[in-house]
């Protein structure tokens, strides 16, 4: 389809971009365009102005920072997927990014764009939530940090304010002993997740010491499976894990759409959480 008319600016710095966004409440940042352009073309969004941040060097790259990995908002999915820093410091991110869309989209879509878009069907929000990532927002006033748990507010709504840009995301490194898995359930290779499960699991002596589980597309925002996490603490692989994972959908309000009704999504969340936890625990 054809988008409605809009203005276009390409600021030379983050400060300038923030100014552009702050001065016009209908302006929108444009990163990789892989979500925003379809919205424009379907006339689901009518921004007055696109502020193209795509070339801002300050927002690019993946950086090793000791206790965390800093992923610049403009790092593309492909770059993140291949980054040795990511694969060593936060492998769950690499595992999930590799399952986003297809190579063409991964070369254009950005890590920050995926998170700022706050689509609960996106694969990365649940990962960021599971890993307790810290979001760094830049504005004319400077930077502020937003914990993942406070970042996703509602369907397609983050806690970024008008005039703020997501500059990057800090992913805390989990120490030794952790295993990871991202289980994506979708009908075709290029389709979005019907349900996805991001799992980080620490094992000790054949049982699970700690588990962090983020769920994709199980509500208007990505959610943590707190009940399952609690039930998994100390669970032994096998029946105990299975029983614990049956709690995965507790408290969720999954959507109904053409691909799945809520009861099926709940069922999937339970099955897939079991699989993700077992895989993360190295139990296949």
């Amino acid at each position: 389809m054809i988008p409605a008319q809009f203005d276009y600016v390409r600021p030379g710095s983050v400060a300038e971009a923030c100014r552009e966004l702050a001065s016009d409440e209908d302006a929108k940042a444009l990163a990789g365009g892989q979500s925003l352009l379809p919205f424009l073309r379907l006339r689901l969004a009518y921004p007055s102005k696109l502020v193209d941040i795509g070339r801002l060097a300050e927002l690019k790259g993946v950086h090793e920072r000791g206790d965390h990995v800093h992923i610049g908002a403009l790092a593309t999915h492909d770059e993140v997927m291949r980054s040795p820093v990511v694969n060593a410091g936060c492998p769950l991110v690499a595992l999930a990014v590799a399952q986003v869309a297809d190579p063409a989209i991964r070369h254009r879509g950005t890590f920050g764009g995926s998170l700022a878009h706050a689509d609960p069907a996106g694969d990365l929000p649940a990962v960021a939530l599971a890993l307790d990532a810290v979001f760094v927002a830049a504005s004319e006033q400077g930077e502020r940090e937003i914990p993942a748990a406070a970042f996703f507010v509602d369907y397609l709504e983050s806690s970024l304010r008008q005039g703020e840009i997501l500059a990057g995301v800090r992913i805390p490194k989990l120490g030794a002993g952790w295993g990871f898995h991202y289980e994506k359930f979708h009908r075709t290779a290029q389709a979005w997740a019907i349900v996805g499960v991001a799992a980080a699991v620490r094992r000790s002596n054949g049982s699970i010491a700690e588990a962090r589980i983020g769920l994709t597309n199980m509500g208007p925002t990505p959610v943590r499976a707190h009940a399952a996490e609690a039930a998994l603490r100390g669970a032994e692989l096998g029946d105990q894990v299975r029983r614990a994972c049956a709690e995965a959908a507790a408290g969720t309000a999954p959507p109904a759409d053409l691909h799945a009704q809520p009861d099926y999504r709940r069922h999937l969340a339970e099955v897939l959480t079991g699989r993700a936890v077992r895989a993360a625990a190295g139990a296949g």
Binding site: M1, A4, Q5, L42, F185, R187, T188, A189, Q190, A191
Partner: protein, 782 residues
């Protein structure tokens, strides 16, 4: 020695330009001063248009004109239906642009003509329309209820037809086995890679229409009939066309309206469909409810088959709408012998996009119903599904065979194709693994599905089409011209839109005339360059058009022989023709066909009665359809915890008669099988209860990609067709026709021990999971 071209896996001449983006899609074409058209489409499934005001759009910058249906009311005519399948069929008026009532979401109600597409799109939002809602009619069974809302004044039944052969009642009476099932063919959206596009230019009197169409020749005739513009003032060009699958076998509202706009404005006008617009308004495919009953003896021998179809026409009858489901009349009995047969079909109007031909057109539906019910029969009597088919199929020594529905199958060998398929598939080993998984209660179950299909293609003997009330003939034309320099130009009446005719025809001509493959050019898709043709659909191009090419080559050769005999002063009978050279038998005296072409060009020394130029035309009209057949086997793994179906292996052994180019044949099968699998597992056009299409984007209407499909193991057996001199049958639709039931049979086979005996298509994970859950609630065995 020259290499024989026919049978060689030549790479396609078409591909270099396709792969390097040097194609002439209609959207790549323009004319000076071209104006862009966008349509405003109805958001209501059914409503009276009580007011429409386009003046707001007219005032916007860049807008040249805006019109509503009222503005065309006197001149737009009615879109044609060329296949009135019964005497009393109801063919409602079908205005290209709605005037007073809309009957499906997406129906055009107004248009804007502007200097660019963006302005035209913006201006659509300034058009005001008041709709008075009328009830939507979405469900076929409800549509047929007496007191329900009507789509058209004449009611919701378009037609009813029935074919009976043998004493069906008697055959069912005390039959030891009776199977009674109802299957649903979901609605599909043909998704050609290239969306539709139309460009029309005029010199004030005559019109050139470029359209992404499969049928420039048919379109020219129909545009003349619909608009009253004389046929000789119309030239239709199908430039490069990026796929059709039947969806571009249509006379569309947009083609008619663009022509009328060009006439009214005296300017070139262009329209390019968006993908969502296409999902709404490209004619849809399938959409049937199939009630099937089968009577058999205890050993599985079929006594009788009874098929009763409800076919969703959508809101109007388009070019072939009613003919598609009724093609099943001759096809539901498939490869099987039986004592009696009945086929009935009722066409039903609903407030949805009209349906029409989609790859296979009637045969996939028919094949599905019979191949699914054969599996049910096998299960019922506890016999292997392949064995049940064996007990019923026509044996190879029984051809030619006149079937219960009245067709005469000329050739085939179901035993050979099936044996080959079973061995390639490793049938016994997979059955063993299946049993093992069942015994172990493996959460991932294995299912095996078979489909032993046949189909009718090579549309078609004109005589038979006439008998079926079809509005045109089924002949095909070719013109073969040797140029002064010895190169060859072929003008074919077929209209390839991805099939590779340029390559295949070059191979045929290279052998027939003894010229190099590279020396042959193939022209097509332009009514001024190829004045005669019936275009491409129904797997007809090779079996009809290819044969016309052969015939034209034979005439060229005959003429060359007379000329050679004249020049070398011998009798034509003394000449041997081999590898493009005529030799006087037993001498060194020879002339190449290229030399003869030049002699015919200079015309300095022609024998009496031989005209200048070495060229000829031929028209071929087949005596009979052709009947490809084959055996497809599919193994699926069904994850019973999530419902996910994964195809593990797929074997197709097809008998399509003689093969011109195995690479092209494999390509057709790959694409065809993919499309059939897509119906089985992925695709579904969904309307809600108010008649809104919910699957308007590719995020909702799921097309599989290569990543979702297995490797296909392909092989062939060969029983040449006897109905044409090439011995060819056609392969354009075979893969689609065969594969859908093979896949669904496999899915059901995996779950049968758990009491499941059908999953409605597409077999989505959710549907599989729900079917299992329902059985579990009922306590297992069903």
């Amino acid at each position: 020695m020259t290499v024989q071209e026919v049978g060689r896996a030549r790479r396609r001449k078409e591909d270099a330009k396709l792969l390097t983006g040097r194609t002439q899609w209609t959207d790549n074409l323009s004319r000076p001063g071209v104006l862009h058209v966008m349509f405003l489409r109805s958001p209501m499934a059914h409503a009276r248009i009580s007011r429409i005001d386009v003046s707001g759009a007219r005032d916007l910058p860049g807008v040249v004109a805006a019109f509503s249906g009222q503005d065309f009311a006197g001149e737009q005519g009615s879109l044609p239906c060329a296949w009135p399948v019964t005497e009393d069929i109801v063919i409602p008026e079908h205005p290209p642009m709605a005037v007073s009532e809309v009957r499906y979401v997406g129906e055009a109600v107004a248009c804007v003509v502007a200097t660019d597409r963006y302005r035209a799109a913006d201006a659509l939002e300034a058009i005001e329309v008041d709709y008075e809602p009328l009830p939507a009619v979405v469900d076929m069974r409800q549509a047929l209820a007496d007191d329900g809302p009507k789509v058209h004044e004449a009611g919701n039944k378009a037609f009813s037809m029935k074919l009976t052969s043998g004493d069906v009642e008697a055959a069912f009476r005390d039959a030891p086995v009776v199977i009674d099932r109802t299957y649903v063919q979901q609605r599909l959206i043909p998704s050609a890679m290239e969306p539709r596009a139309v460009l029309v230019d005029t010199d004030g009197e005559a019109f050139t229409i470029w359209s992404a169409t499969q049928i420039p020749h048919v379109l020219r005739v129909m545009l003349a009939v619909v608009t009253g513009i004389p046929e000789h003032k119309l030239r239709v060009i199908a430039p490069d066309v990026g796929g059709g699958f039947g969806s571009k076998l249509q006379v569309t509202a947009e083609e008619v309206l663009l022509l009328l706009l060009a006439r009214r404005l005296g300017k070139p006008v262009k329209w390019l469909e968006t993908r969502s617009e296409g999902n709404l308004t490209v004619h849809h495919g399938r959409d049937q409810i199939q009630h099937v009953r089968l009577a058999a003896d205890a050993d599985g021998r079929i006594r009788a088959l009874r098929v009763d179809l409800l076919a969703d026409m959508g809101a109007y009858l388009m070019l072939l709408t009613p003919g598609v489901p009724t093609l099943g009349a001759q096809m539901c009995n498939a490869i099987y012998k039986m004592d009696a047969y009945e086929f009935a079909c009722t066409g039903v109007f609903t407030t949805k996009m009209p349906t029409d031909a989609y790859r296979g057109a009637g045969r996939p539906e028919a094949t599905f119903v019979i191949e699914r019910v054969m599996d049910e029969l096998a299960a019922e009597i506890g016999v292997d599904p392949v064995e049940v088919r064996r007990r019923n199929w026509i044996r190879h020594d029984e051809f030619p065979f006149t079937t219960i529905s009245g067709l005469t199958y000329d050739s085939g060998n179901y035993e050979a194709a099936t044996e080959r398929a079973l061995s390639l598939f490793g049938y016994d080993k997979l059955r063993a693994e299946q049993n093992d998984r069942r015994d172990r209660g493996d959460p991932v179950q294995l299912g095996i599905g078979v489909s032993t299909y046949t189909e009718m293609c090579g549309l078609a003997p004109s005589r038979l089409l006439g008998a079926a009330n079809f509005g045109a003939g089924g002949w095909e034309h070719a013109s073969v011209r040797m140029l002064a320099t010895g190169k060859v130009e072929v003008a074919t009446g077929t209209t390839p839109h991805g099939q590779g005719h340029v390559t295949a025809w070059s191979q045929i001509v290279a052998d027939a005339l003894g010229v190099p493959f590279e020396d042959v050019a193939v022209l097509h898709g332009d009514t001024a360059i190829v004045p005669k043709g019936m275009d491409t659909y129904g797997s007809r191009s090779l079996a009809v058009g290819g044969v016309a090419v052969v015939r034209a080559c034979e005439k060229v050769r005959d003429k060359a022989r007379r000329l050679a005999a004249h020049l070398m002063e011998c009798s034509p009978d003394d000449l041997e023709f081999e590898a493009g050279t005529f030799t006087v038998r037993g001498t060194e005296s020879r002339r190449t066909i290229q030399e003869l072409a030049n002699a015919a060009f200079t015309a300095h020394d022609l024998p009496d009665g031989v005209e200048a130029r070495l060229d000829s035309d031929a028209t071929f009209d087949p005596e009979n359809f052709s009947f490809p057949h084959g055996t497809h086997l599919c193994a699926v793994e069904v994850d019973t915890e999530t419902g996910m179906v994964r195809i593990r292996s797929y074997v197709a052994v097809d008998d399509i008669g003689k093969v011109i180019n195995p690479l092209i044949v494999d390509g057709q099968l790959h694409g065809g099988i993919a499309q059939g699998i897509a119906q089985a597992l992925f695709e579904e056009a969904v309307y809600d209860a108010d008649g809104n299409l919910l699957t308007t984007t590719m995020a909702d209407y799921l097309l599989p990609s290569a990543a979702d499909l297995p490797d296909f193991a392909l092989d062939r057996t060969e029983s040449p067709a006897t109905s044409n001199p090439l011995g060819v049958k056609g392969v354009g639709e075979a893969g689609t026709i065969a594969s859908t039931p093979a896949v669904v049979n496999a899915v059901v086979d995996a779950l049968r021990p758990r009491g499941v005996r059908d999953i409605q298509m597409p077999c989505t994970p959710e549907r599989v999971w729900r079917a299992l859950a329902a059985q579990e609630r009922e306590g297992g065995q069903g």
